[in-house]
């Protein structure tokens, strides 16, 4: 095989980007992996468990970080963004901006020092649920296993405290932005997704009613390293919920919001029902849906749940959610599509199954990429030498993201192949 000596640039270090990077590197190619957050793993690391096996994402992540750590062909830049891409297939130039971490990693810092600080910041890993110190490990499985300093949140007194207490060289509060220019042969775009902004779903009570939460928030509430230590509790009073509604297609399949289907929310909500059923054998859950979309072998997860007397499926679109000020309970306005009756059931927690928005929706990448009207990257390799994978191309689950990423790795290698 004639190998183009230039590395492959992978943009995005979530499950798709990590997969593309290790798969290409294990073939024998050099890879530069660029991630905008301080850690790899992206959205899956905020997921408590995967459907349908109910297994922790950290399990596969540990294997992937080992593959990455032991493979000298991979260079990882976290806190980094690609600012510019020029050139053509086989010969691109990319400009990468690396934001300061203020923690050098050498020597490794003992995180216990954070306990002595006063300065705090919102815990964005937990979606703003709770706070961390201004020196923090992004999450307990973070890779690279390095703390970060939120320089803006760090008070002068705390800065002085850190300078005093940290081993020499462990932190550098004067660290500045760094710019790198790299020559690469191909690009894999794996920039992922973000949840649809629930604040736009005012009619469904989000922001108006304390006990209306989103599906991504529920993942953090269920996680042991989340804001409630793994207990799903009502935000208003911290009580465990007893009767929970799931509102499917909260934004998705709706021409006023996201016209497409977000593909994973049905399985996501069914998984959340399982979290609740494991937490409390008496709990009741009702899923309001248009269609239950559990394709392939995932169907079994739904079929098994039909036997559960504590779970009700009701075909109907929720029009309105209102709060009872005294109890914090929620009243739904929903039409049962089959009976055509309007129902007003009451619940003590409502979970909105918000959808997937590509990160490229309002932040197109540098370079000449084609997007559909929703901002998903289209046209498999239409821009020669650039390949997209995972939720950058369309809403998908982890299994599809890893599959696309592996294929994108091949596309990248193929585009650099020197032969015919």
């Amino acid at each position: 095989m004639s190998i183009n000596a230039r590395p492959i640039l992978v943009i995005g270090g979530g499950i798709a980007g990590m997969t593309a990077a290790v798969e290409a590197a294990e073939v024998g190619h050099r890879v530069i992996l660029v991630e905008k957050e301080a850690y790899l793993g992206g959205r899956v690391m905020r997921t408590h468990r995967y459907f349908p096996k109910m297994c922790p994402p950290a399990c596969g992540f540990e294997i992937n970080t080992r593959r990455l750590r032991q493979n000298s062909r991979i260079t990882v830049h976290t806190l980094a963004t690609v600012e510019e891409i020029t050139g053509h297939a086989g010969n691109f130039k990319a400009r990468i901006r690396v934001r300061p971490r203020y923690v050098t990693g050498t020597p490794s810092l003992d995180g216990a020092i954070a306990d002595q600080l006063e300065s705090e910041r919102d815990n964005e890993f937990n979606l703003g649920l709770g706070r961390t110190k201004a020196l923090y490990l992004p999450h307990e499985m973070a890779w690279p296993p390095l703390h970060v300093i939120d320089r803006e949140a760090l008070s002068d007194a705390d800065a002085a405290k850190l300078q005093e207490a940290c081993p020499a060289g462990a932190i550098d509060l004067d660290m500045a932005d760094e710019e790198l220019e790299v020559k690469v042969g191909a690009v894999v775009v794996a920039t992922g997704w973000r949840p649809y902004d629930a604040a736009r779903l005012d009619h469904l009570g989000y922001g108006r009613c304390a006990n209306v939460v989103t599906n991504v928030m529920l993942e953090r509430l269920a996680a042991r390293d989340g804001p409630t230590g793994g207990k799903i509790l009502r935000p208003s009073d911290g009580d465990p919920p007893r009767n929970v509604a799931f509102v499917q297609c909260a934004g998705s399949r709706d021409e006023n919001h996201l016209p497409y289907c977000s593909a994973v929310c049905c399985m996501g909500s069914l998984k959340h029902v399982r979290y609740l059923r494991e937490q409390d054998p008496e709990i009741r859950a009702t899923v309001f849906y248009i269609d239950i979309r559990t394709t392939g072998r995932l169907e079994k997860f739904y079929q098994d749940m039909l036997d559960d007397e504590h779970v009700t499926f009701l075909k109907g679109k929720v029009a309105q959610v209102d709060e009872d000020a005294a109890t914090g309970n929620l009243q739904l306005d929903v039409e049962d599509t089959l009976s055509r009756e309007t129902l007003h059931p009451e619940f003590d927690l409502v979970v909105l199954a918000t959808g997937i928005v590509p990160n490229t929706a309002d932040q197109p990448l540098p370079g000449d990429l084609a997007y559909d009207e929703y901002g998903f990257v289209t046209g498999d390799g239409a821009t020669a030498g650039v390949f997209a994978a995972g939720c950058a191309t369309g809403p998908c689950d982890v299994s599809s993201a890893t599959k696309e990423a592996t294929g994108a790795a091949l596309g990248a290698i193929q585009s650099m192949y020197g032969g015919d």
Partner: protein, 752 residues
């Protein structure tokens, strides 16, 4: 084996404050027999370069670095030809034990002893280099859209490809389609299938050799060294043997039998969606099979075979999209033509929702949620009865034609089941008693439907095809690592792996081609593929002591070992995933890796200094899976959870690699109890080596029986399933075990 070992003990990370480091240094060069030792601030950055320089200057061939966990730093600067072991003093001492205590110091001393002993027995692995040259050619089995795409992708990346298709023509199901569902914006219009161009590109490509009407009648060997016998004329013609490096199995799908209550096979105008596609693709006017009358109304019945727990319980994923597409075919007949689609759920994920919306807008397509209860001839047409619709409790429509969206089943064979069938048949023939014969016959009958289903015809002891997971899909860790089959170098792709559309099949083909290419490249470098990617060790079998018990050949999760007539294992090294399950299985202890063996881990166990019973300090051994249980324990220390100071941890590649000898060693050396900690097993197994943890559980039961026979309390061995996020449970498991041991008392063999 390393005989000049250096010990490097970090003083940073709080280690010097927690431990008497000078005493450890004295221990290293004293009792442990290290050739060299020193303290160093850290085990990172420039300090690592200092260590590398010391190793070179002192001509060391082994090193123990006691500092932070190896999971947390890059040991790149260290020379590759030196055996290096890492001791996580920060995690297992500073973060999880009280500083300055006697027990803390004893634990640290044991950690040094264990790892110096280990390094003393280890050697650097040398990559496997067979005498024959390793081949990089890829074999693609199946010439549908997946196989064609995989072949072309690999060829365009520089690899030679053999493409084998059992039928006369390439193209598979896609070549029989009239149009494809829309794959790009605006996601509304049907597209050309693109199959003609794909076939032409494949046929023209100089690196692809196409074999149609051909089957693989025999495949022997291993990655890089597969010998494939191709048999032309559909398996009856002449044979040709070729050498390939890896394979993509793209054998596709077949329609499932439709629900028996919908009159298919009894009423000629009830047809499958594949038959309807053939009718449209044929180009003629739509006519009823029964009387040739024109078709102007069609009812599509969704889930006509799928999503039925009694039948095919999974969803075939693409039948909704397919019926929406075929409804548009009907609408092309005339403005008056009508298409009805009866469904429970319409499943058009992602941007396909746009296509659904476009079909909904069509005034001649009637999408109705409901359950079809009957299809029957009525006045020359067909009456379809539907209940629980949005239009009323029971409706009936009259149509010219009924199309069943029956669903897709993988064209896969379950290799393990085929082997089990032939074993059962043989057992019935050789049975000595009537009961044995009856049991074996019943077993054979139960498996009889697997007879003659072979596709790949692998010459593997564990069966002629890939083993399958639920529903016959031949994969394993389908969430995180979708291409990992249980046969190294053979990657399933397309509808044999899961029902998917043409676009999905193309993406899947590219991924599987990448994995096949990666396999031949890693094999050529002498490296293991996933999950121990890059591992250059491989097992060595000391066959002179083999008793042909066949445990290794039966238990290997990846079918690595074949057998000769007597049952002696025949290693196919490039199939090996280096999990060590064979090492764990072998009662004669003849299996070893250069850096992992019964002897190496025994040396760690023996190195522990076990206090006598009067000191009242029990010693507990924990054999922990390094993939999940050990990282979980490190996570516990990161959260500063305190660990029982009497536990001594020995990491293992997989719990399935645990040899009973280690437990025996521990008991005879005076350990008071042994913990085995591995991954979750069962239907939703998390074991990276598929069944290693399950095998360990079975072996653990045998160990307990053995303890009973020795008049020892079998509570001295406990087996736990641990997930990587279970860190909070671990200290409690240790403490509870220590309590159990305290109740039953110290090991009576202590000090003997």
């Amino acid at each position: 084996m390393a005989d000049k070992i250096g010990v490097f003990i970090c003083t940073g990370y709080g280690i010097a404050e927690a431990l008497d480091v000078p005493a450890l240094l004295e221990l290293a060069t004293g009792d442990c027999g290290a050739a060299y030792c020193r303290t160093i601030d850290t085990c990172q950055g420039a300090d690592l370069e200092t260590i590398a320089a010391d190793i070179a200057r002192e001509e060391l061939d082994g090193a123990v670095i006691a500092g932070i966990s190896g999971r947390r730093y890059d040991d790149g600067p260290l020379p590759p030809d030196v055996v290096v072991e890492n001791v996580a003093l920060r995690e297992f001492i500073v973060w999880s034990q009280p500083p300055g205590e006697e027990d803390t110091q004893m634990l640290a001393a044991d950690l040094i002893r264990m790892h110096v002993a280990k390094v003393g027995k280890m050697a650097c692995p040398e990559p496997f280099r067979p005498e024959e040259e390793l081949d990089r050619t890829l074999l693609v089995v199946g010439g549908g859209v997946t196989g064609l795409t995989a072949a072309l992708a690999a060829a365009r990346t520089g690899y030679q490809v053999r493409l084998v298709e059992k039928s006369e023509d390439l193209g598979g199901w896609l070549a029989r389609q009239h149009r494809s569902i829309p794959t790009g914006p605006p996601y509304r219009d049907l597209e050309d299938t693109g199959i003609a161009k794909l076939m032409a590109d494949v046929l023209e490509h100089p690196r692809i050799t196409v074999h149609t009407s051909t089957v693989t009648s025999h495949i022997s060997g291993a990655p890089g060294l597969f010998d494939v016998t191709l048999r032309a004329e559909g398996g009856t013609g002449p044979e040709e043997v070729c050498r390939v490096g890896a394979m993509v199995q793209a054998t596709g799908w077949r329609p499932v039998d439709p629900r028996p209550d919908l009159s298919y096979g009894q009423v000629p105008d009830v047809i499958l969606n594949t038959e309807f596609e053939d009718m449209v693709a044929g180009g003629g006017p739509l006519q009823r099979p029964s009387d040739g009358q024109p078709v102007t109304s069609v009812a599509f019945i969704q889930c006509g075979g799928s999503r039925d727990p009694a039948h095919h319980s999974y969803c075939s994923s693409i039948c909704c999209l397919n019926s929406l597409k075929q409804a548009l075919y009907v609408r092309e007949v005339s403005d008056e033509a009508k298409a009805y689609i009866f469904y429970e759920f319409i499943r058009t994920p992602g941007q396909y929702e746009e296509f659904y919306r476009r079909v909904q807008e069509d005034p001649g397509v009637f999408l109705t949620r409901g359950e079809v209860t009957d299809v029957a001839p009525a006045a020359g047409r067909l009456a379809v009865s539907v209940k629980d619709t949005m239009l009323g409790e029971q409706v009936q429509v009259q149509v010219d034609l009924v199309v069943l969206a029956a669903g897709m089943a993988p064209n896969a064979a379950d290799g393990e089941a085929i082997r089990a069938f032939s074993d059962a048949k043989l057992a019935a023939e050789c049975a000595e008693t009537d009961t044995q014969r009856a049991e074996a016959t019943a077993r054979a009958e139960h498996l009889a439907h697997h007879e003659g289903t072979e596709i790949l015809n692998l010459d593997y002891r564990q069966g002629p095809d890939l083993p399958s997971l639920e529903y016959g899909f031949p994969d394993s860790h389908f969430i995180c690592f979708p291409y990992e089959s249980r046969r190294t170098g053979i990657y399933p792709a397309g509808c044999v792996r899961a029902p998917m559309d043409g676009r999905g099949s193309r993406a899947d083909a590219a991924g599987a081609a990448l994995k096949a290419i990666q396999c031949v490249e890693m094999t050529a470098r002498g490296e293991a593929v996933h999950p121990r990617a890059g591992d250059r060790s491989y097992p060595d079998f000391f066959l002179q002591r083999c008793t042909q018990c066949k445990r290794c050949t039966e238990e290997c999760p990846f079918g690595v070992l074949n057998e000769d007539e007597k049952g002696t294992p025949l290693l196919q090294a490039t199939r090996c995933r280096r999990c060590g399950v064979c090492l764990g299985a072998c009662p004669e202890r003849i299996v070893s890796f250069k850096d992992y063996s019964v002897e190496i881990l025994s040396s760690m166990i023996k190195a522990v200094e076990v206090p006598d019973e009067f000191e009242e300090k029990p010693r507990l051994l924990a054999l922990m899976c390094e993939n999940d249980a050990l990282p979980a324990l490190e996570l516990a220390t990161q959260h500063r959870l305190q660990l029982n100071p009497y536990v001594r941890i020995v990491p293992v590649r997989c719990l399935g690699s645990v040899n009973v000898e280690w437990v025996n060693q521990a008991v005879s050396r005076g350990f008071d109890g042994v913990l085995l900690m591995g991954c979750t097993h069962g239907d939703d197994y998390q074991c990276h080596f598929i069944k290693g943890s399950e095998l360990a559980e079975q072996r653990g039961e045998n160990i307990k029986e053995k303890l009973d026979k020795m008049a020892m309390e079998n509570e001295r061995v406990e087996i736990h399933q641990v997930q990587i996020r279970d860190y909070e449970r671990l200290p409690a498991i240790f403490d509870a075990f220590a309590e159990t041991i305290e109740e039953i008392g110290m090991n009576p063999f202590k000090g003997m």
